[in-house]
Amino acid sequence: MSDERTLDLLEVKIKELRELDKTDGINLSTEIARLEKKLEALRKELYANLSDWERVKIARHPKRPYSLDYIREVFTDFYELHGDRLAGDDRALLVGLARLDDRPIVLLAQQKGRSTQENKERYFGMTRPQGYRKARRAMSLAERFSFPVISLIDTPGAYPGLESEELNIGGAIAENLLAMTNLRVPTIAVVIGEGGSGGALAIGVADRVLMLENAIYSVISPEGAATILWKEKGRMKEATAALKLTAPHLLDLKVIDEAIPEPLGGAHKDPHKTASSLKESLLRHLAEVSDIPPKKLLATRYQRYRSLGSYHTLNDQQSGSSLA
């Protein structure tokens, strides 16, 4: 079976043929059309049954669109707000006002860096307490002025480190969880890349939880799980399979509401198309949740989280015996 690189090479060749076709007046259109069909078929074959581990690689692909890419394509008039008014301004979690088809919203968006310099500034996309508290401030603003809140989640996890602990990162995450369950405005969260544990959930409690098709969302990274459970970091593929961290799995498990389709091969193959799918989905869900009266919205959200998690219930006979 062909691999991704071969197909990318083929794509380049087709592009070169098209140039040739144009500049020299040679008619290659039939051949080009055939090649394109072939390429499409090969792609479908290649990507039809992506393994979970392959999806992890797509979710982390260095060319994958990040929040700012979607902010440019999906929203208009992004007006960034800085600072938690307490200790600093985290560059790995951006917040601001924006419009989604003319409707003002509050945006919370985790942002990875592309360059080394940008990654240093953005702590490789890992959110610090200053970021979570800035998000909380933005939530209060949203509530005061009835802006819906949309979260774009993309983080390997909360930033681990001395400063984070000194600023009570656990407490910051916990306070956000509580705040989001009570937020009196419609809320939508989308995992666009990596949904890394508590660091993702801290802006992910919402009326609708969506994922891009190749995004992942997990209680722990595959590498972390492999290290802890298999005592071997190298076994992250097995860990990945066990964790059921992909959008299709999580949709099956009814933990998320929708998996938003990506172009064949992943969002980075066609960022515009991905953005337009994301926008369509956001508009649809926002319209739905906006129609729900506030009281019912909150009750429904509460019920969603209250009822989360499966367990076995034992009948009274079974639970009658005592032991210590």
Binding site: E166, I169, V255, N315, S319, S322, L323
Partner: protein, 280 residues
């Protein structure tokens, strides 16, 4: 999943005790000490003051008025929503933990009195898969808070946990949000939630319910924090101070209200609860 079906649900009864060996050797001072004396001493070495590990049952005994405990846990046990298997299947892990601890899960919810004040209390047991929070623990904590609301009582949670239960995947992670949500109801009802952090209170438990106490008390020697030393050293290779995530570190940086000796915890709780009971 069949294995759970024919298992008994372990309702904890503190009165029944199997007496084991009479003596034990303190791992800190090396002295041979009477087990019963250690137990009566809140599992603190009578010679050197070393805190021995407390099971959930022992923790309850050390905190409550003698004889006041009733297990009011929900009769539930873990399911295996992901059909998770690492070096062994998840159901087998659960079963082994149940055998080892004589507990149905990593937490007990009890109706107790402390210095005469009736409260609902949740107590985690670190022996049960590291006290990790899966769907059962999440549900039990919520059940405990809802019972506290029904009874108009305070809720006390004694944490001893490494974080979320990996084997339940995202379901485990989401218990953080679930417990936080129900904690909000307790607040709306103006009922106190006192969080007691013991060794260790870390990861997803510290980053959710345990950090949301009206009052947060750490037992002396507790470890408190989000990301463990190893995670930090693997991720960013940062130098960490010796007191990292200790009780003193948490107090200095404003994460907790108090650090209390184990032998004083019961009286301390009585003192705190007293204020709230009067205010109601």
């Amino acid at each position: 999943m069949a294995i759970f079906k024919d298992r008994h649900y372990f309702r904890v009864n503190l009165e029944k005790k199997t007496d084991e060996s009479l003596w034990m050797k303190c791992k800190s001072c090396g002295e041979l000490v009477f087990k019963r004396r250690v137990r009566e001493n809140n599992n603190i070495c009578p010679h050197c003051g070393e805190y021995f590990f407390l099971t959930a049952q022992e923790r309850i005994e050390s905190l409550i008025d003698k004889g006041s405990f009733t297990d009011i846990s929900k009769p539930i046990v873990a399911s295996d929503p992901l059909s998770f298997q690492d070096t062994k299947p998840y159901p087998q892990r659960i079963e082994e933990a149940q055998e080892k601890t004589a507990l149905a899960s990593a937490i007990i919810i009890g109706s107790v009195t402390i210095v005469g004040i009736p409260v609902v209390m949740g107590v985690m047991d670190f022996r049960f898969i590291g006290g990790s929070m899966g769907a059962v623990m999440g549900e039990q904590i919520c059940h405990g808070m809802e019972e506290a609301i029904r009874r108009r009582q305070s809720f006390i949670l004694v944490s001893s946990s490494g974080g979320a239960r990996i084997q339940e995947g995202l379901f485990a992670l989401l218990q953080m949000a679930k417990t936080a949500a129900v904690r909000g109801r307790l607040a709306e009802e103006h009922l106190p939630f006192i969080s007691i952090m013991t060794y260790p209170t870390t990861g997803g438990v510290q980053a959710s319910i345990a950090s949301l106490g009206d009052i947060i008390i750490a037992e002396k020697g507790a470890m408190i924090g989000f990301a463990g030393r190893r995670v930090i050293q693997n991720t960013i290779a940062e130098e960490l101070p010796a007191n990292y995530q200790t009780d003193a570190f948490a107090l200095e940086h404003g994460l907790i209200d108090r650090v209390v000796n184990r032998e004083d915890l019961r009286e301390e709780l009585g003192k705190v609860l007293g204020f709230f009971v009067e205010a109601q």
